[in-house]
Amino acid sequence: MERRVKIEIRDIYKTLKGQKVLRGINLTILEGERVAIVGKSGTGKSVLLKHVVGLMKPDKGDILVDGESIVSAVGKRLESIREKFGYLFQGGALFDSYTVYDNVAFPLREKKKLKEEEIKEIVLKNLELVGLKGMEWKYPAELSGGQRKRAALARCMVLEPEIMLFDEPTTGLDPITTISIYNLMEETYNAKKFTEIVISHDIPGIFAFVDKVAVLNEGRIVFFGKPEDMEKTEDPFVKEFLGSGLALRGCK
């Protein structure tokens, strides 16, 4: 069965403080597809992700989510498009002054008209799913980096998004926690079947968990295809990038 287009990025350009960060990005992501965006630090991966969810507006170009432009959307239309997204920020972006429980309950309290008992049931179920049972009354400052990301993932999951965006979900984590986060992403994907975009530096670790890879270099996509096709490409940057990733793995 042919899958429909979920996200279409059309020729977007962005200049920040005089520096051309994105120079004509084109990308089509199908429903239920998992795409990793990789590239050197500072090449605009996070900027691209922020454009997808409408946190930044491109200087030129358009981004369509289910055929609707998020670039030109404002007010309720923008809200309704954003409700399709879950966004796992690099640092988790948990609210410091709230406990883990209140952080996860926050979107439910604000977006759904549910009774407190129903909220409690959903929150505890999601915290159990991410392995944070018993930690609900801790504050974000009392959690480790991995636990913070798990709590943030639980917060994203409670509204059951159609599209999940992961901004470097395993950066700064030890190998065991990294694997547990990947397994968690895999489990939640299998349970919800959302469309997924992951920004990662973990080459080739991330390849086992995605359908396609987009390589970003100097504001352009230089490769977009299946992970196994990466080795066949003639692009010198992709070769070098893949080579260094594999070499790093070899050293480990």
Partner: protein, 258 residues
């Protein structure tokens, strides 16, 4: 070549200034829009009133009593030269109500709560908590700015009133217990000289100062950049700009309401 470079830099500076001014104005406009656009988050408003108002009472009362006490001593020194010591009560009360109450209480609250608000919003900004709100399709102006604006507008006149009352009482303690004035003389003349307009002036000034504190401190927090150093810079700038604007606006309001 040097001249062209100078003109270019001047132009860039002016352009930056105008853009910042526009953003500053738009910030207040959007916040006011969100007061009416959707129901207000009362729990968050109460939380901010507790933070800005309730938790500032002790510092405002402490500065108020000492301001009143020193004002009584200084005024007695001046009035004594003209044999007008009986006017000490009205002198203290009018100075407190028309000038010192709104200004000093506002400066104290800017230093205590304004700096904290800038730092809190700034940290929320750099740790992407504000972005997280937006991604959840929740407007940060409704959740953060509106409660701060309402809390400032409610708390400032109340804190100013506490400052005035405590300050006048401080003046009473010094006048009666130290300078030997009779209680009747101190309070009797206050009711004779102090008019409703003086109290109104105090309240109007403190409401405007509350608006200024919200405007500057929340704006600076919302536009924080570059990590911990950015937060520290934004907090310093917020306190300095808000304090200066309060003193400038004090003169403007006094000229208008005189």
């Amino acid at each position: 070549m040097v001249f062209v470079d100078f003109v270019r830099r001047l132009g860039a500076f002016c352009l930056d200034f105008v853009i910042s001014l526009g953003r500053f104005g738009l910030f207040l406009f959007v916040t006011i829009f969100w007061i009416f656009a959707k129901p207000i988050k009362f729990k968050r408003v109460l939380r901010q009133i507790h933070f800005i108002g309730y938790r500032s009472i002790s510092i405002v009362a402490l500065t108020g009593i000492f301001t009143g006490m020193v004002l009584a001593l200084e005024s007695y020194y001046a009035l004594n030269k003209f044999g007008a010591e009986s006017l000490l009560g009205p002198a203290v009360a009018l100075s407190m109500l028309r000038e010192l109450g709104p200004v000093i209480s506002a400066l104290m609250v800017v230093a205590r709560a304004g700096s904290a608000i800038t730092a809190e919003i700034g940290i929320m900004k750099i740790t992407e908590q504000i972005d997280a709100l937006e991604v959840m399709a929740l407007n940060p102006f409704r959740y953060i700015m509106v409660p701060n604006l309402i809390a400032s507008l409610v708390s400032f006149p109340l804190l100013c009133s506490i400052f005035n009352v405590v300050g006048i009482f401080g003046g009473y303690v010094v006048s009666v217990n130290l300078l030997g004035l009779s209680p009747g003389t101190y309070f009797g003349d206050i009711s004779h000289y102090v008019k409703a307009e003086d109290i109104n002036m105090s309240l109007v000034k403190s409401i405007v100062f509350g608006l200024l504190m919200f405007w500057v401190c929340c704006y600076e927090g919302y536009h924080t950049e570059f990590g911990a150093e950015g937060v520290s810079r934004a907090t310093t700038r917020a306190v300095v700009i808000a304090s200066i604007l309060i003193l400038v606006m004090d003169y403007v309001l006094t000229s208008i309401l005189f």
